[in-house]
Symmetry: C2
Subunit: 313 residues, 2 copies
């Protein structure tokens, strides 16, 4: 059985994402070893951890957590020595990731899980050069990794089930929300959704349909206020009024044919309609539409107050 | 010059959106007249206003605001009589909207602005049957209209500039964030962005790539936590680290070619790159990347606390 007691984490790559992981693991009370070949990496990492620390302190540090428990190493081998978990956050470049993961694999004991922060490559395509690919998984965070809970976990064709399971357990132990995928879909779940929105936004700027500022305003003062409390599915469950998602799809279904975005919608077959309705019912659980409305309303008011205060500083 | 002092608002259509507008206008101290031909409309509207009232009371009611100032009328003509602003929120059906807007137009004094809550039809295609189409505008809200600030305002080919301006002024006076578009793009801004995400989500369910619940979790615990404080553009401005959006686009630009969503991205020309970078700089204004990071971090923590409390009730 794989090792499950981790007290040292290795972070390979210490840019915005890798550095954010460093801050998170330090705050959770781990010893952290970081390696990054960029000449100015150490200074940037120090600034990043310093910038994150007030937020992490406010959230509550684990016992013994300290910025002094970070060691920046000269070599990759020193970084992974004694580490119980390795988080790779190198630039998004497939050949680079393939080589780096093989290099990490070569110097890390075989039962230690190595997770990649990749935004969208599948592990199947990244693990090809590694000698022990079964412990390689994707562990995809969101910026900043020290605050956004979501981590998407998925293995590649050569990944063992125990490695996926152990990565999920580890992330949960350090306070993350883990979304484990059984299929290796490019971009995983959250980035596919976010990327669709981002590409539509770029098209709008490219075509002079909206400015950068209008796009941000449309989200921050519009649907963005709903999404931290109810995702796109439950949001539309409530758009259907007392009839819920069933009414919403039966009523707005034709809008899927409208040229409201450059992305073509799938055919709204009876099967898809029923799957979405059933999924919403399952997610809502015992909460009635009226209770979900009350929950949403309380949250939106509090979110607006929170954002207002954060902006005032 | 058009009338600008409004004390009575007519709401035509009183479903989820129309009813939400009714609640909002009542809370802001207006007399509201609502008309909806559905047989159970009055009872549904009463429940909707009752459900919204605690939130509106918490936010602070305008002086004299009262649920008793709602009158449900038997006819459309009675609803618009004496109204200084008309908000139409009928089902999303083009022929129905064309006929209804013409009917409203026929019984409403010529200088009163009539706004449609349509989710995506252009006013140019909706105003065709009206005799005085120059005062017809789109005033597109988000559910629930009594809490989400955004209203997208845009005229059609036959709409006069004064009507667009007056609608914007009126919405701002009642506490809305107004996004005025100069071009009539299907779906406006926010729905184009939201719809791209929604369609990708439906594709994922249709292809068994993710469940309804995973999709919601990916947003609520992932990028959804950032969007109320910084929209997609400023979010990626911070993903670029100290180099901002310029570094982000130069670094992640190739990802636009990745199959991370079914939506093809536009070509990242130097012009598009520069426009996005300049737009972010303009939006950030005097705030440095470090200040934006601090603002984001404060907001995300507060948002998570707010959502947690709202869920606990």
């Amino acid at each position: 059985m794989p090792e499950t007691t981790v007290d040292t984490v290795a972070c390979v790559g210490a840019g915005v994402i890798g550095g954010g992981w460093v801050a998170h693991f330090l705050a959770r009370g781990f010893d952290v070893r970081a390696w990054d070949p960029a000449p100015d990496a150490a200074a940037k990492l120090a600034r990043l951890v310093d910038a994150a620390w007030p937020a992490l302190t406010q959230l509550g540090l684990a016992e013994g957590a300290s910025r002094d428990r970070l060691r920046i190493t000269e070599t990759l081998a020193e970084a992974v020595e004694g580490a119980g978990f390795v988080q790779e956050s190198a630039p998004e470049d497939l050949p680079l990731k393939q080589k780096l993961l093989a290099d990490i694999d070569a110097v890390t004991p075989a039962r230690v899980v190595i997770a990649s922060s990749t935004s969208g490559y599948g592990m199947s395509e990244m693990q090809v050069a590694a000698k022990t690919p079964e412990r390689l998984v994707v562990g995809h965070p969101f910026n900043p990794p020290y605050l956004i809970p979501l981590v998407e976990v998925v293995g590649g064709r050569l990944t063992a089930a125990w490695a996926v399971e152990q990565a999920g357990e580890f992330y949960r132990r350090v306070g993350k929300t883990v979304l484990t995928m059984t299929r290796d879909v490019p971009g995983f779940v959250a980035n596919r959704l976010q990327e669709a929105l981002w590409r539509e936004a770029l098209h709008m700027v490219a075509n002079d349909e909206a400015t950068v500022e209008q796009i941000d305003l449309a989200i921050t003062d519009g649907p963005g206020l709903r999404w931290p409390v109810q995702g796109p599915m439950l949001t539309f469950h409530l758009a259907g009024g007392e009839g819920g998602m069933a009414h919403m799809l039966d009523h707005f279904g034709p809008s899927l044919k409208s040229p409201w975005t450059r992305l073509q919608a799938p055919e709204l077959t009876p099967e898809l309609r029923d799957a979405v309705v059933a999924g919403c019912d399952e997610e809502a659980g015992s909460r009635s539409i009226a209770e979900l409305v009350a929950e949403r309303d309380r949250a939106i008011i509090a979110i607006q107050q929170a954002v207002g205060e954060a902006r005032r500083g």
